[in-house]
Amino acid sequence: MQKTTSANTASMSVSENETLIELKNINKWFGGFHALKDVSLKVSKGERIVLCGPSGSGKSTLIRCINHLEAIKDGTITVAGKEMKHDAKSIDSVRREVGMVFQSFNLFPHLKIIDNCSLALRRVKRLQREEAEVIARRYLDRVHILEQADKYPAQLSGGQQQRVAIARALCMEPKVMLFDEPTSALDPEMVKEVLDTMIGLAEDGMTMICVTHEMGFARKVANRVLFMADGQILEESAPDEFFSNPKHERTKAFLGEILAHN
């Protein structure tokens, strides 16, 4: 399925009109610290957003607000048509649409890989163990790690663990996946296997928001790159434009640093 015209997968279908995530003027405070300042963002179905910016700019906070790992002070968050309020029911209904992958994997160390993946299917979707395991195996196979199903997380390499974490989130069949620096805790030789998995997801049409500094991934997969600084989205554009023609001084400085390191 090699595309000759474009190195980017942006030609993959994005239905421009169907909005999956909408953040309207959200504000987040940590005590007296204003971590997100009036941030708005619209993500359409099938979009792949890469979020980058200096440390402490609020990238993690932003995506963690989307599934209410952090509570916002004001503004609105709507996911798949459901507005998230502060009540448990609306939080839960949004969380069911959203999968998340963490920097430090956060697998359940006392559960086998298969149980890591099937637990929520059984407890949340109330499937029988057998049904849940069929689904879990399907997604473990998809991230090419099915043969590890009966091991415990500690017996796997970092890259394998992160792929399990991706499979675990996929099992719930979310409409959107959030990634918070999924490769930055990995040894360099394991980064590729995780990025390849994410690229595969993008090719299958998954809506994704990825906090990452993997600029190769951004070029290849993103259809928009957002640059954050001081709790605000300073700049957003298509990857080619973003890398070749950054507008904001802060973006230029940031890219200069990142590219010097890569």
């Binding site: 969380r95 359940f108 160390p109 949340v124």
Partner: protein, 216 residues
């Protein structure tokens, strides 16, 4: 009746039976209530948190002997005509629940936040998060400390003698008063405690060592 013979041994073993029973009852009762206390202590409601903290502080901050007196005489004052047995089980259950609750609170809070966050991200509910994710890990980590407390509890039941509960230590005192051989009798009583507590201590220490190796 001045020799240490079979009747005396049986009397001591009778006391031992009550010691073991009291320990088991207060450990189980204390475990159940202690679990609730631990969960209350890490609850999202600050009122519940503070109530649990106060409960723990109350029982950890006062001597067990006072607790025994207060519950024993308190129940009597409230016109509950209970025998020593019930009063003592009550007091030790409360005592154990505060200590176990605090041990388990500590290990629950020592788990990485990521475990809770991953559970939330998967939209696991409170019950599943606790039962499937948090408690299995926390209770496993707390096992050495929990066993250590069980040893303390076993020995601590000897205080119940003070309100007339005839457990092992009190049985020893009675026998020794009868046959005037305190060193012999209390020596034997000590050995019985030791035979029960020492293996538990070793078990706890082994488990602790094994865990620290796994974490290294």
């Amino acid at each position: 009746m001045d020799a240490f013979g079979l009747p005396e041994i049986f009397f001591l073993l009778q006391g031992l039976k009550w010691t073991v029973l009291l320990t088991i009852i207060s450990f189980i009762g204390g475990g159940v209530i202690g679990l609730l206390i631990a969960l209350a202590r890490v609850s999202s409601s600050s009122v519940i948190q503070r109530l649990a903290a106060a409960y723990i502080a109350l029982f950890q901050g006062t001597p067990l002997l006072m607790q025994l007196f207060i519950i024993y005489y308190g129940l009597a004052l409230l016109q509950f005509n209970v025998d020593a047995w019930i009063a003592v089980s009550f007091a030790y259950t409360a005592h154990a629940s505060a200590f176990l609750g605090d041990i388990w609170r500590g290990t629950i809070q020592s788990l990485p936040r990521g475990q809770t966050e991953a559970s939330n991200a998967l939209s696991l509910g409170y019950v599943s998060r606790m039962r499937d994710i948090i408690l299995p890990q926390a209770l496993k980590i707390s096992l050495p400390a929990t066993i250590g407390f069980a040893v303390q509890l076993t020995k601590g039941t000897s205080l119940a003698a003070i309100v007339g509960f005839i457990e092992l230590a009190r049985a020893g005192q009675i026998v020794s008063n009868l046959i005037f051989q305190p060193l012999l009798v209390f020596g034997i009583v000590g050995i019985i405690y030791f035979v029960i507590c020492w293996p538990m201590s070793i078990w706890g220490t082994r488990m602790e060592r094994r865990m620290s190796q796994n974490h290294a």
